[in-house]
Amino acid sequence: MAERLRADLVLEYPFTRTTGPVIGAFLTGLREGIILGIRRPDGTVLCPPTEYDPESSEPLTDLVEVGQSGELMSWTWVDPPRSQSPWDQPHGLGLIRLDGADTPMVHGLLVDGPEGLSVGMRVTARWRPEREGHIADLEGFVPEGAD
């Protein structure tokens, strides 16, 4: 029987997407080192911002700055990260409700191990020094007071 054949096959799509004004503003904020949410008619703030109200479907336009620290609402531990993960070390993934926001956002939690994480703990943003307008401009979140 002939030797079994195998080959590497890579499918790669180098997409660039246009952002629109709302997501564009959020990413602009990240580049400038601030985090934006968007205010609903009832005064609550969605962060990350969405282009439409999730209940009424009305367009949302009032972008507001939220805090850089907040509460960890839920988390999981990732070990090891997959090859294309933004993080090359084991890390947490958490739902973080930032101060001034009413909804949580997903991001990485940069601690040494899962024993460093608990629901309700305070975490704060850690920024990359070089930023380009991308969610990875935020390196992740660390326990408040750690940096």
Partner: protein
């Protein structure tokens, strides 16, 4: 809710209000979102036979046991009938262009393709479906459906068990076959002829 769906939603028209801090900075308008899938490709038996034969400069198809239609590349089945196709057929490295496309924009990751280039369905003599190849050795504006072509192979010492052994297809200079008998039209004509005989 907006009653008239033809009116663009406010959020997409650019009328958003921003915090003071972002009033004078260049807004982000696009974001890179590359997608990459890494496969470890292991061919099945039909494809393995096809690829192994390439090392000997041979192109193999498989014949349908139902009506004799010849498929290339072989996949081990006649997909129309769900019938296994165990019998290989050796095909010549000549055929015609059944259809083609001129590409004038570069493809990321394929710097080896000089634009403009022509990709085409190559219908080998004796095959009933086409397979993809590049057409070269002719000005792109001269490529046409029904044009006779032959394979241009890599040098013998560079042959491997891969369809990449065929560098491209070049015109043979023979007269074109009529468009009505080219590409998938050939199959339809064959079916019609069989119907008349039956």
């Amino acid at each position: 809710m907006s009653a008239d769906p033809s009116i663009p939603p406010t959020a997409l028209s650019g009328e958003v209000s921003l915090p003071e801090k972002l009033a004078d900075v260049e807004p982000v308008r696009s974001v890179r979102t590359p997608i990459r899938l890494d496969y470890d490709f292991i061919p099945g038996s039909a494809s393995s036979g096809y690829l192994n034969a390439f090392a000997d400069r041979k192109i193999l198809g498989q014949r349908s046991p139902v009506d004799g239609a010849v498929f290339v590349p072989p996949r081990g089945v006649d997909p129309r009938h769900g019938a296994a196709t165990p019998d290989y057929v050796e095909l010549p490295d000549t055929g015609h262009v059944g259809g083609f496309c001129v590409t004038r924009l570069p493809i990321p990751g394929r710097d080896d393709l000089e634009i403009p280039y022509v990709s085409a369905w190559i219908h080998l003599d004796g095959a009933d479906i086409g397979f993809l190849g590049l057409v070269a050795g002719i000005d792109t504006s001269e490529v046409r459906m029904g044009m006779r072509v032959r394979a241009v192979w890599k040098p013998d010492d560079e042959l491997g068990r891969t369809a990449e052994n065929i560098l491209h297809w070049e015109p043979t200079g023979e007269p074109d076959i009529p468009v009505t008998a080219a590409g998938t039209n050939a199959w339809h004509a064959k079916q019609a002829a069989a119907g008349e005989q039956g």
